[in-house]
Every structure is written in C-alpha cells, then in structure tokens.
Amino acid sequence: MSQPARTPFVAALAGAPLPASGIAWLDEARRGNLEAFVAAGLPDTRVEAWKYTALRALAQRGFAAGDAQAASRPIDPALLALPGAGAPALVFVNGVFRQDLSLPDALPAGVSLQPLSGVLERDPEPLRFALARYYREAGDAFARLNAAFAGDGVVLRVEAGVRVAAPLRLVFVGAGAEGDLAWHVRNLVELGEDAELTLVEQHLGAGEQGHLGTQLGDFALHAGAKLHHAVLQQAGTGSSLFRRSHYRLDARAQAHLHALELGGALARHDLCAELVGDGAAFHTHGAFLPNGRQHMDTQLAIHHRAHDTVSSSTWRGVAGGRGRGVFRGAIVVAAGADGSDATLANKNLLLSPQAEIDTKPELEIYADEVKAAHGATVGQLDERALFYLRSRGIPGAQAHALLTAAFARVPFESLSHEALRNHVEQLLLAQLPG
C-alpha cells in the first residue's frame, strides 16, 4: 500500500530526536506516539472535529523540534506582570521551564508545584499512568506530538482539605527565535478531596514568531474539590497554538473555567470534561475574538456520567476583519446520569462582512429527568443601542467598541477575582476597534 507523501509539517518532525529521559516506559510511549503521528499526519476537514478548521496551510510549513536556546532567551519582565494577581509562579519559554523568571510565593503547606522536567529527573513513577498514554483517535495529531516531544510542563498537587486563596499563576511564552519552531508543554493538576485552588493560565507572545505550540492538560478533581481556572490566551499574532484540556470531576467537585481567547493566528482549544461523581458541577464561561485573519476554534465536550451533575456554558464570539470563529459545544448525558442539568449558550457577533463564525451546539441525552437547554445565535450590533449612544455624544467608533466589549464581557461577570476581572475588561477594550 502506498503511503501519502509526507507533508513538510510531518517531514520536519518525523526525524527529530525525541527528548532523552532514560525512563524506559516514557521513551517507549514517546516513540509510539511519534510513529502514530507520522503515520496519520494532520487531520483533514473530513474528520468531523476538524471540519471548520483546515490545516492545509499549516501542513505546508516545517517547524524545528524544540528550542535549544529556550533557557537563555531574554524576556521583558513587564510582559509577565498582571496587576493584582501576584508574581508568576512558573514561567515557560518555548516549552522550557525558566527558573530565573519564576517567582513562586511561599507555597502554603499541602501544595506541591514543580516543573515536569524536574519531576521526570527525580520521581517520574507516579506520572506513569498519565504520560504513558497513546492517542488513537483520528484527530489526535497534536496530542501525539505533545506526548512524543513534551519534556516540560506543570505538575501541581493540592492535598486534601487544603484551600488556597491567592491565585497561582502559570505563564507560557512563545519567544522569537532564529526560525519557527514547535514547543510543547504537558500539565498535570490534581486537587485532593475538598481542596480549593485558583489557577491563572496565561499564554503570551514575545517578539515576532510563527511558532507552533501544543499543550496537553489533565485536571483531576477529587470529591468536593473546587477549581477556579482562568485562561488568558494572548499568544503571539503569528503563532499556532493547540491546547487540549481534560477535566475529571468526582462527586460534588466543582470547576469554574473562564477563558479569554485573543491571540494566535490559529488557536484551537479542545476541552473535555467528565463528570463522573454524583453532584459534580462544571461551569465554563468564555469569549473568543478573532480579528484580522485570526482563526479561533473552541471545542467543548461535556460528559455527564453521574446523578445530579450540573454543567453550564456561556460563550460569546466576536469576529472582526476576516476573523473566523468556530465553536462546538457538545453535551452528552449518559444513561443513568439521571437528574442532570445542562445548559449551553453561545452568542456571536459579526463586526465585518468578511468575518465568519460557525457554531454548533450538540445535545445527546440517554438519561431520565434531565434538564437541558442550549442555543446559539449569530448577529450584528443592535442598531438602536448604537444610535442611543451616539445621540448622547459618543462617537460612532467608541460606541461600537463599548457595545462590543459589553457583549464580550458577559461571560466574565461571574469571575470573582476582581483584579482579574478588571484585567479582562482592559484586554477586551484594547482588543476591540475604536
């Protein structure tokens, strides 16, 4: 049987040396995932999950594997500042942990936070289950790449009953290099029973670059645990970023995700939540704002697998210029997950005739006594509101920006951390025209 010709994307990474770990099971899993990636290449639009995100252009580009100079790339400290949210606890540049930029405040007892690179050197065995995985689905190209090449990331554990009030900040920077390169981070977060944590995850760009970044994150919430997770995606304007997050919630566990997608030329986030314990609750709130020629794709898949589980998803899309937004929100209520309550709403705004948003809510219910509601709309700014503002003296461009920000702000009204909420507000106003 003849193999399809390798694309430049696959060719550049196929022969790249894998990170040497000296851990037999890890090396084997890395080899296996790389082989699977090389054999299948990138998914095309016939794969349902990639229907609206074509990777043809990406497939024609070659990326070097990793950044040998990542440890010494200069980063302006001002880039890492986030008013009111403390210093960044861990900073990664082009996928590599940077001790010199990381300033973890004294961590409370019961919280362990380490770069994956360090854990792999000292005590890799507990991570075996997570890292020795094989990704077998047709659309798993970036997960395979990540599993093959990621040598660093975040390993975070909060012991049972420990509640951490101050937000913990993780920063991932794509920094300009001699050429475009591919970097990867692997994050593992675990909250013990009744533990509570606020996590702020930032993606930033430093300097001109067209890197490819991948991130794979696992979040395990044990019974009664509570995670507040805020993601501010401001990757460099030329970069491509593929993130995949998996949340697993035991009984009564709660996750609140707020995600703001602003950056990247091509940004995709696959988010899968499994509510496996009775009474678990998963709330997502997010906005994506593609502008210029940006393409942003958010894929939610929420699985209710236990009694009385709750999920809500409030997402807003705003597309300007030739921006393209894609949103898929799939809710699956499994047989036996009686008493589940799921709501999903995605409202979108098109600011220009060339902008486009494709949204697709999906609902599959196999259980009884389920409350479910979902809806999606695509529209334009309210002409009457616009005129109202202008009739009071507010110039047209400013009125546009005000209304658009107001629209995009809605998902973040529930963000309880005030400094973060204000920061989001500033980012929204800065992103919007006017």
Partner: protein, 255 residues
Amino acid sequence: MLTIDNLHARVAGKDILKGLSLEVRPGEVHAIMGPNGAGKSTLGNVLSGREGYEVTEGSVLFEGRNLLELEPEERAAAGVFLAFQYPVEIPGVNNTYFLRAAFNAQRKARGEAELDSMQFLKLVREKLKVMQLSPELLNRAVNEGFSGGEKKRNEIFQMALLEPKLAILDETDSGLDIDALKQVAEGVNALRSPERSFIVVTHYQRLLDYIVPDFVHVLAGGRIVESGDRSLALKLEEHGYAWVAEHGEPAGASA
C-alpha cells in the same frame, strides 16, 4: 435657534414627513401633538440623525448650521438632545460609565476639559438632588430592567446632566404616574432658561399644565396642520383631532 423648512423625510421607502416647517427661538417651549403614526417620533429621529431616516427635501438649520449634515454625536455636542419615546436597554454597559463617556465626549468635541471620575460623581450627585432618580439605577446597566417610569426619568436625568440647548422630549409623560409626571415636569422647568428651548411631544394636555408651552402645534399627515397657544391643547382634548381637520386649514397654506 432651530429652523425647519419644508422638511420631507422617508423611512423604509415610505414618505412620512411631507413638508413640515417649524421655527423655534431661544427659550421657547413648543408642544407637538398629533395622532398615532403622524410622524412625531420621525421628526425627533430626523433631527437627531438616526440612520435610515432619509431627508428628501427641505432644510434644518440649528444655530445657523446645517444640522442634517452632522453625525448624531456631532449634533449632540452641538446641543441637540432627544429624550426617546422608547429608551433602549443596553446590557453590559454601566449607566454611570455611559453617562461620563457621553458627557466627556461632548466636552471634548467642544474643546472643553474632560472631568475625571471624582469630579463627575460630584456633578452627578448635584443633579440627582434635582432629578429624584434612585442612585441605585446609576450602578446598573443602561436602562436594563428599569421600569417604564424609571427609563423616562433616566432620560430627563441625562438631559439635566448634558444641559443641551435644544431638548426634544418624545412622549416623556407616557407611562408616568402622577407624582413622576410632576417630578419630570419640575426637572424640565428647572432647566428652562432664555437660552434653552424645548420641543415637547405629548398626547396629553395634562403635561402642559405643568410644562407650560409657548406654542402648541398639531402634526398630522407629516405636516404641522394647526398652530396656536396653550388653548389649542385644551380644544384638542375636548374635540379630538377630527376637529382640526374640519376647522383648521393646513399651517403651510397660511404661512
């Protein structure tokens, strides 16, 4: 101050204003009455520059300038204010933030210094005393969840704050209870001055007991068909608009 001459305007392909003329001098209060669908709100929208209202003939001069060639925000900065018949709810835009943005945008357009948030709050507190608006409404989104009466009061509060030269009040009295009506009228009367003019659109002569007009006009079929003093409103209340059709000749013909 305002000279409307032979104004024709079209909305959604339909001719609504058909040769409307009106002269408003500084300090005057003009009441406009007329049947539903006559074009009263259309007049307000045309004067404040709403998109989709196409002027096909005639002219409007405001303080000697051609009002029709200005953008809505430029008209506002020039001193034109429309209190909407149906104020719009704007979720997500904080009322105080909106008021300050509007206030400062107008000042900026006029080359005046903008107020910082402390100075602005001080001004808001002063105006609140005059206008009897619950301060709680200022912390909410613009008009969101306001009762009908609260929306109307908010319009008048905005007027008090922005201090326009010409205020057009489009049925600001509709839906107000008797106390609110008096308060709104007091708010308007407090702003009356030799330099400031009002066009008050209403269906009820009762409002004119509180805001005493210098002139009363009847707008019907897109034109002013009758003009007079206060007593005209009383006659209308008594006899209805049919009386105008029988009794009066079109104002255009006598002018």
